[in-house]
Amino acid sequence: MGEYRKSGKGRVDHSEAVRFSFDGKSYEGLRGDTVASALMANGVHLLGRSFKYHRPRGAVGVGFEEPNALVTVRRGKGRMTPNLRATALEIYNGMEVTSQNRWPNLNFDIGAFNNTFSAFFPAGFYNKTFMWPKSFWDKVYEPFIRNMAGLGPAPTEPDPDVYASTYAHCDVLIVGAGPAGLAAAIAASKKDQRVVLVDENTELGGSLLGATGATIDGKPSEAWLAKTIKDLDKAQNVTVMTRTSAIGFYHDNFVALSERLTDHVPSLKPGQSREKLHRMRAGRVILAQGAIERPLVFNGNDRPGVMLASAAQTYINRYGVGVGKNIACFTAHDSAYQAVFDLADSNIRVAAIVDARKELAADILAQAQSRGIDVITNAVISKTGGKNRIKSIEVYSPDTGTKRQVNCDALLMSGGWTPSLHLWSHSKGSIKWDAATKVYLPDQANENCVCIGACNGDFGIKTALNAGSKAAGGRKSYKVEEADFGQGQIFDQLPNYIAPQKTKAFVDFQNDVTDKDIKLAVREGFKSIEHVKRYTTNGMATDQGKTSNLNALEIASKALGKDAPQVGLTTFRPPYTPTTFGAICGYRTDDLFEVTRKTPIDPWAESQGAVFEPVGIWRRAWYFPKPGEDMHAAVARECKATRDSLGIFDASTLGKIEVVGPDAAKFMNIMYTNPWSKLGVGACRYGLMLREDGYIYDDGVVGRLAEDRFHVTTTTGGAPRVYRHMEDYLQTEFPELEVWLTSTTEQWSVIALNGPNARKLIEPFVEGIDLSPESFPHMAVREGKICGVPTRLFRVSFSGELGFEVNVPAHFGKYVWETLFEAGQKYDITPYGTETMHVLRAEKGFIIVGQDTDGTVTPHDAGMSWIVSKKKKDFVGKRSLQRSDLVAEGRKHLIGLLTDDPNVVLEEGAQIVTDPNQPIPMDMLGHVTSSYWSEALGRSIAMALVRDGFNRMDEELYIPMPGGVNHKAKVVKPMFYDPKGERLNVL
């Protein structure tokens, strides 16, 4: 047991010792301790080094508000968590804790030279200093800053833990289980409603855990708390969640709750979730978040051993730990006296209480005197002594100019209280400035939500209990005997005889922001608190300024000569407490991070050793390499085999929409540029779809199966947006049309067969369809059977070869594919992937929407004026095509390029110029959109969008590449192979 532990005192289990290590040294604590309380029990106050100046720091607080005491916990491979608050971290046997931001060790830290030279590190230092020369940024400045300033190191290994997540609902959600929250839960439990009470601490009680001595309804507060916990446990309609932080309050009472499940247990069971995120939708939210004590801003206020008075009070009452043996206190609020009395009553010597106020209530003074405590009013602390722990304070009385040194080993401070408005502000509840207490308080609610207790500015146990009961519809009036909470005075600046340049009074401990930094920001012209915050980084650390925001505001408003409300308050943003990425991701990691869609034929491709590529959210076979083949060789072979005999391709990912109804043709006329009314049943047509702005949106082949039924295909990636686009126009612009749309993408497997032997292959398997060219010409669709299963058989071609697209119900896809593949062996049937598909279509000059077009390409630009109906009165995009910019000369046109050197395959995306010797920046005409090696032509081919391209036929252009190589290429029509289309009609 540590020498600062008070035997038998507190809520920790004195019968159960827990061993853990800090920076490699073993310590003993008790069951119920935090890292901070256990270390303090052993006299250790130095817990870390500060962010910028590497100053030694100890715990300032006792819970999640802690700005200083950040540590790293390691528990085996991949399980390292930096920046945890030692004050809220429960110990367990074998726990390994290390300090941060120090080298070589915590007691001697090289980086502390930053402190010596701190005059050179004022607010805005980084912005001002690391500016020039620019080339220094990557190699010198950034690594330097990253090494010297910082928090704990980021983990380098994958996190092996599981993080759970769930949606949940309740009638009443109560956040915070102090007296207000507990009374609300008790009152709510008596009604027929689902109640959830959450608290981020290990146990319920809030301020009752730290401040003991009151009686509630005739019982000591500890006994009342124990009974209340038991009552809530018994209530069937109440769920109590501890170790659960309400991290964010979103629209319509949607509150994110992050529950820590395993960080406090010594051994982990496999598969056990580390944390669980509850997405809670509540009918009503009761916020009882309490208030956080404010530090005082004085020279040397960051020395280890200087802490909030309420924190010291909690260490003694909850953990049985004296934060020192000879303490002092510096306060501007009555509440600190009770804390000092609690320590004094535990036989801790009190060296002095320094009160910045001129006058003090007589009864408080009397209580101090009865304990023999020296109270010095109208005085401040002008400096503190001690290296890694406070040893002395200098008490300065500004009116008389007297100075006096007082020795102490801990210093309690209190600058008053700040109600916690975080979640209230997340919910967009408005706040109002309370001039009397100089704090912001909740004003108008924006949700069905109420703030009660200390977070509403209502201090004291009785006030909180009664407010809690009332908020939950109860009428209980609690009988409470408690010490008067008292009052305080807010000081923006404490007087000091020492010149400001020789002092260091911290406002934001975690980001090392001093009062001077804030004043400097104001002097340099920053007037809004939001700008002061960003320039000084005050309140921007992981504690989000829980202890610093109002002190910063007070100092800034004084410097600006304005009232605080005119200067404003910075915005509170989720998360209230730092939250792991694991909790936010939940189950959505690895394979579940983004679901990969696979076609029914995908397993076959995988078994054949296909290489895959992602297309939209699909994975598609890219090419099928044979042993020893690279991609180039495989694609060349697949292309040749298809053009020579027969290729087979899985086109199942094509988007499909069934457009049905008496007005289906009318609707098609609106959605596509070309006409559909006269398309015969059983015929197909290529359709081009524009957005209303006149640019190409999608394309695909459409088959008419009946007068009132179209089988529409879309691009693979475009299917969802085309469907939405159609639904939008149908529902909102043309609701009078009797048309129904159904997405059928996943209902059909599509097997594309291309090559001169395509018909020969399928002929024996097809029933009910005459395949002869006369009755089944190119661009036709028939329904019948193939391999004994129903099919919609399209005679279409995206390769220029005789082609069929066999649509079968999805679950027959693999069977039909395997049957055809087996039978195709005599034609040397060759499976090909998306790369070969792209080459074959490029050889024919067919566009890929999104590759050869980019959302600014009109049909005319793409050389497809032929598909835009001149006769139709209306279609989506028609009017925009007449806009002056869209009919202007000199737009970019889609053309073909043939390189001078047939072996050069241009890079897609490469820029095109007329003269490669012109000065930089060159006049760029456009870029290469598609570029491949064409095995059929024995040379490279390319397509490009080039300014005024149609008027540049046979012109020679240049494609300059990095390294000084300039490729020369000739502009041609984008039709490289079989321009007459004779190969479609192979018999």
């Binding site: 629209h251 319509d252 209303e692 909102t732 925009s880 806009r883 002056s884």
Partner: protein, 106 residues
């Protein structure tokens, strides 16, 4: 995350089921009208949108629900939905919106 009342489903559903679909009550001109419009007028229809601070009529799509588009009045400052209604209803007047607000506030 909003709770949005779908006027077709007649129930409050979480925002993840919906997609925002831009400003409401912008009527696409018919073909004759289109031909009569100047480029400037057409651009106005195509591209110019109000950026309302306060009550805004907007379109939502119950994409992962009933698949219907509908309109809503929402306050862009408080982020509160005041009312959702079916496509085809006229743009609500200021007094109608006030009535809805009064009704919502009980």
């Amino acid at each position: 995350m909003f709770l949005i009342h779908c006027p077709h489903c007649q129930e409050d559903r979480p925002e993840i089921e919906f997609a925002y679909a831009g400003e409401a009550h912008i009527v696409r001109p018919g073909p004759e009208q289109q031909d009569a419009m100047s480029d400037a007028e057409w651009s106005e229809f195509m591209f110019i949108r109000d950026n309302v601070r306060g009550e805004h009529c907007e379109r939502w799509w119950h994409a992962n629900g009933c698949n219907m588009f509908f309109n809503a009045v929402r306050n862009t400052v408080s982020d509160k939905f005041i009312k959702t209604y079916k496509i085809g209803h006229k743009r609500p007047s200021a007094s109608q919106i006030q009535k809805w607000k009064d009704a919502a506030n009980g």
